[in-house]
């Protein structure tokens, strides 16, 4: 009796917890609200199965508890029942899978007009690079990384000259404009994760990975690294700020192009040389 009741109460408690506990996802800030929808769908289907099976177990334990004078039913198989259950499960599973695959297809298909932003990860922090006026990100190679060229841009590539370099933990993106994050790391695995955006993808040294989204709500969001990257993993935080057009333009204007940065470094170097000569 106690056992049956406990299983019953655990089930009821789980449902109550689900609906009334304060812990739920943060309000979505990107177009990936449909990921939330697939989760809700999954909750309903699996929730019904969970409750049904738990109640069934509780009922059995209560109803068929041991009695010396009674014998259990002798029925090794029931082909019909087994095949019915198999098909019902298969249908349930298909109902979960199909919408999942549809949304995944959207997730991996980047719209052509998406604005490309490079997210640059290192142990342990973030930098960003915008494509500049020409809309193309210049090519990079890890061996060119040095103090003067922190992003390792290839000098010969003309597309890189007007790239805007954001050597800070903070990125601004424009509301309602699709953005493709091109994810790059110079050391170990990282993952560019903003809980409110829902999207996620590991950054792998040697290749550029990506995902895309459209920010849908103005706000200031925390960036977390979601792939373990060593002792400083937990402290690898940044910020993404979703702006309306005006604020975004103001921020963009403050960023420095690669060409200007090179010139500035050159100037500094020359100054130092001059100082040395004196």
């Amino acid at each position: 009796m106690i056992v049956a009741l406990s299983i019953f109460l655990i089930t009821i408690g789980s449902i109550a917890f689900h609906f009334w506990s304060p812990w739920w996802w943060t309000e979505v800030a990107s177009n990936w609200g449909n990921m939330d929808d697939t989760i809700i769908l999954t909750f309903w289907i699996t929730g019904v199965v969970f409750v049904a099976i738990c109640f069934f177990v509780a009922y059995c334990v209560w109803k068929f508890s041991y009695n010396k004078n009674r014998r259990a039913e002798y029925k090794p198989e029931d082909k019909k029942l087994e095949s019915r259950l198999t098909w019902a499960t298969a249908i349930g599973v298909a109902a979960l899978l199909a919408p999942g695959l549809v949304v995944w297809n959207q997730y991996v298909t980047v719209p052509e007009n998406a604005y490309k932003v490079e997210v640059f990860a290192y142990q342990w922090g973030w930098k960003y690079r915008l494509p500049g006026k020409d809309g193309v990100l210049g090519k990079t190679d890890i061996k060119y990384i040095n103090d003067d060229n922190p992003f390792g841009l290839i000098l010969e590539d003309p597309n890189g000259k007007d790239d805007l370099l954001v050597d800070a933990q903070e990125l601004h993106v424009l509301k309602d404009r699709p953005v493709k994050f091109e994810l790059r790391t110079i050391d170990v695995l990282h993952n560019f994760y903003v809980p409110q955006f829902r999207g996620k993808m590991d950054m792998v040294p040697g290749i550029v990975t990506y995902y895309w989204l459209t920010p849908t709500r103005v706000g200031d969001f925390e960036v977390l690294c979601a792939e373990y990257c060593g002792s400083g993993h937990y402290a690898m935080r940044g910020r993404v700020i979703v702006d309306e057009e005006g604020d975004y333009k103001k921020w963009e204007a403050k960023q420095i192009t690669f060409e200007k940065m090179l010139a500035k470094n050159q100037k500094n170097d020359n100054l130092q040389l001059v100082k040395k000569d004196k």
Partner: protein, 609 residues
């Protein structure tokens, strides 16, 4: 089998010596023995009996005790981690030791506790007894297997004492961070971990060959494959999986060792570390992930299948009812085993592998839910119209059903590629795999220990202590992991030494952390109660009668209990039926042991098996 071969066998059966078969009635006929009786090694000294034992029963107990001892370390590490998460202000740990403890906890629990306990422990104890054999096929190799495991554990423990400490790379050991500065223990610690795993795989291969060959070759007369207890089916299939899966881990470990020691670049692309470009070039970190998960996913089933098998037997015995749908259960075990090799990359949806793989692996992953669901249905249909004894093994089995159901269903979230994106690398994942491959198999292990304890010691474990242990463990671990899923929904990432008060996390989430930690401490402490019961009952427990649960399978039918060296006395058992003939109409008792000849149960309306 050709006719010619059968003739030969008949001719052979003369020298195998089966005088009794002449006088037995036709209905009791069993196939002739195919092999002569096994010659056994007989120990002569205390050392060869208890330490370098070649008797599978002893080796099983040795395996189990070593695994549990290592597991206790894993438990203590989890306490320390949880205290850090809930009370970061205490400052007991620094980030490096936190990550080292996370790593060692994970690896110990998955490989050195669960795998070793299910296959090395229960496999050794139960395979010969349940198949009706005198011992494993190769007792000496079996002994070597155990001692290789011991050396593997010692190497693992040694890594706590080397400069830099054990590896803190996470149990998945992903390169490049596993072997580059920035991760604790990236010099000596990781190398010892890799060597320990290599030793474990070598030792396990020796044991695994034994399990497979024993099941295939040394079954008693009449013990067809479809009369094997599901426990054996689970352990057998898991061992086959392990034989295919562990080599992937082995090569992964070898390649990473080479990358680290010799500077090769299997997994190492050009990268910067500590501000300097390393000499590595051209390697692929994702290749390691493929190798790791090609092992890692079957590994989940290497732990789960023995648990599935054992719990099926516990449910059947303790509800005095035939397991429902035995044949479906067998095919589900085999099917899950086969499918488990086609789903590994569902751990890698957001790893940066080609995103188009997501379609394939999401589909295969959800397909595997079907045979798994069939197993759950058949367990609960075994309870239906049963005669359910709420003994300790039954309580733990019921706990398993609820826990496994919960953990299995959350697997449908993570396996479905889109749903996985927001949830991966959060506490949802942590909660899911602890529920499904931590707590659920552990509940089966506890049930199994309470069930087979009398077979090992001849005594029963204390029922009251056992019940306290059950309720704290079952309710407590549900209280730990159920709410933890919701932390994952909030977006709390895993492997964070400290969460801080991030803007998107409200204080109640941190409060929940404290609640979980307190539950962890209580549940952990309850395991000490279990250990006390385990140790003290060996001396002071109530003496058990023979076959105390009135089970049908062969391990309870040995001439002596606990079984002696060679298990079966003079003559090997003959098997006439499967182990699930409970509550057969017309039979005198509510159980018919596998070795009870049909001539003794005339009148029982038993279906032929």
């Amino acid at each position: 089998m050709s006719d010619e071969y059968e003739h030969k066998l008949e001719a052979k059966s003369d020298y195998v010596g089966d005088a009794s078969s002449v006088s037995t009635p036709d209905i009791d006929a069993v196939p002739a023995a195919e092999l002569p009786d096994q010659e056994l090694y007989h120990s002569h000294s205390w050392w060869t009996t208890y330490v370098f034992s070649q008797d599978a029963k002893y080796i099983g107990i040795q395996y189990a005790l070593t695994a549990v001892g290592t597991g206790l370390l894993g438990l203590v590490l989890s306490w320390l981690m949880r205290i850090q998460l809930a009370f970061p202000g205490l400052g007991w740990l620094d980030p490096a030791s936190y990550y080292q403890f996370v790593t060692m906890h994970g690896m110990i629990m998955v490989v050195y506790l669960l795998t070793a306990l299910f296959l090395g422990g229960f496999g050794n104890l139960l395979i010969p007894l349940m198949c009706g054999a005198r011992d494993m096929a190769f007792p000496y190799v079996n002994m070597l297997s155990y001692w290789a495991f011991v050396v593997a554990v010692l190497v693992l423990l040694a890594s706590f004492f080397v400069p830099g400490g054990p590896t803190g790379a996470g149990w998945t050991l992903y390169p490049p961070q596993a072997i580059t500065a920035g991760t604790p223990g990236s010099d000596m610690g990781i190398i010892l971990m890799l060597i320990s795993l290599i030793l474990f795989v070598a030792g396990f291969t020796m044991g695994g060959l034994n399990y497979i060959i024993t099941v295939l070759q040394l079954r008693a007369r009449g013990m067809t494959l479809m009369r094997l207890p599901l426990t054996i089916w689970g352990i057998f299939t898991a061992t086959v999986l392990a034989m295919f899966a562990f080599p992937a881990l082995l090569v992964g470990c070898l390649m990473m060792t080479l990358d680290s020691l010799l500077g090769t670049s299997f997994f190492m692309p050009a990268m910067v570390s500590l501000g300097e470009t390393l000499t590595h070039e051209g390697g692929s970190p994702i290749l390691f992930q493929h190798l790791f998960w090609f092992f890692g996913h079957p590994e989940v089933y290497i732990v789960a299948l023995p648990a599935f098998g054992i719990v099926s037997d516990l449910l059947s015995v303790h509800s005095r009812k035939t397991i429902f749908g035995y044949r479906m259960m067998v095919w589900a075990i085999v099917g899950i085993g086969a499918l488990s090799f086609f789903v590994w990359a569902h751990h890698m949806y957001v790893s940066g592998m080609n995103p188009w793989f997501g379609f394939f692996f999401a589909t295969t992953t959800l397909i595997i839910a079907v045979p798994t669901a069939i197993k759950v249905y058949n367990w609960i249909l075994t309870l239906w119209r049963g005669n359910i004894q709420l003994s300790l093994p039954m309580l733990f089995s019921l706990g398993f059903i609820v826990t496994f159901l919960n953990g299995g269903l959350t697997g449908l979230f993570l396996g479905n590629v889109t749903v996985d994106v927001p949830l991966s690398d959060t506490y949802f994942v942590v909660a899911h795999f602890h529920m499904v491959m931590g707590i659920a198999p552990l509940l089966v292990i506890f049930g199994a220990i309470y069930h087979w304890y009398p077979l090992i010691t001849g005594r029963m474990m204390n029922e009251t202590l056992g019940k306290i242990h059950f309720w704290i463990t079952f309710i407590g671990s549900y209280a730990i992991y159920f709410p933890m899923h919701y932390q994952g929904f909030v977006g709390v990432p895993r492997r964070y030494f400290e969460i801080y008060d991030s803007p998107y996390i409200d204080t109640s989430t941190l409060l929940l952390n404290k609640f979980i930690t307190i539950a962890v401490l209580i549940v952990g402490a309850a395991q000490l109660l279990f250990l006390y019961n385990l140790i003290v009952s060996a001396r002071l427990g109530k003496k058990s009668e023979k076959n105390p649960w009135k089970a049908n399978s062969l391990e309870w039918q040995t001439p002596q209990m606990p079984p002696e060296h060679g298990n079966w006395g003079k003559e090997l058992p003959k098997v006439y039926r499967w182990p699930y003939d409970f509550s057969v109409p017309g039979a005198k008792e509510d159980y018919i042991p596998q070795n009870q000849p049909p001539s003794e149960i005339i009148g029982a309306k038993v279906e032929k098996t």
